[in-house]
Symmetry: C2
Subunit: 146 residues, 2 copies
Amino acid sequence: MSTPKPEATLALNGSLPRHRRTYSIGELARMFEVTPRTIRFYEQEGLLAPERRGQTRIYHEKDRVRLKLTLRGKRLGFSLAEIREVIEMYDAMPDGNARQLRRLLEILADKRNNMERQLEDIRLMQRELDDVETRAREVLERLGHH
Amino acid sequence: MSTPKPEATLALNGSLPRHRRTYSIGELARMFEVTPRTIRFYEQEGLLAPERRGQTRIYHEKDRVRLKLTLRGKRLGFSLAEIREVIEMYDAMPDGNARQLRRLLEILADKRNNMERQLEDIRLMQRELDDVETRAREVLERLGHH
DNA sequence: CAACCACTTTACGTTAACGTCAACGTCGTC
DNA sequence: GACGACGTTGACGTTAACGTAAAGTGGTTG
């Protein structure tokens, strides 16, 4: 406490083996471009369970990964409830009973189908975009030539 | 009215050249597995503009296609507002000015980036799913062998 | 020590995308 | 001519996923 060593306690985290790093809620928020409110909300919804040092939340690698997966899931249109379901089952896996596991496999298969349809949707949508863009460029061209 | 010919007026639409067909709101709803309420809502939001015969809405091929594109857009996570924006610009294209067209191209490029990221997300997500599934199967296997 | 962050909880507000219900009109049919 | 299936408008309800504001805590910095 008396030694003025440059141990900013936070800045120090700069070059640690990723595994030992911890994050504040603000850091994570900036990192993923969400607000702290969002992160707290995800916790409230059972998607995160950070450590607590007193009042304040402390996030480890595990939490960061979870958040990343959560956001990815969201971009793919999954609801927080769905994401939580998978996360919970995943956590319970080691000692999960057979029924749970089969249920998990079902859910996974379901997600997979979802992915497949999304892939198809994307391909179709890209064609549409190509088409619209081509037309737009043509019109633009004609405008250029008066 | 007196001739009992099997002209069910609705059933008759069965084998028409797709182009001339028309649809009731209920037909479209079943077709795409949405409720009539949804379709009316999309109209209210400016995504559809069906013909009217008296009070009742009559949908043509064009409307069906729009609905299809709208739903596809939704599956890909676009908001109705975004979808409408594109549709409107597309409709206004022929007589659109250069600024409008350039704006449209911007939007399209944006959507394209979105698609690309979604593709990447899907690939990553599929790997995760593979991983989880593999683990689940392993655990299940061990359970089987007591 | 005062000022300033960054963090906390509590609670109410907001937006998008419909659902639901009431109250009514219009066919075709039994 | 009652009935059921389908259509209409209008209005209010609901859910998910946060936003926002209020009021307080704890650490460091000039």
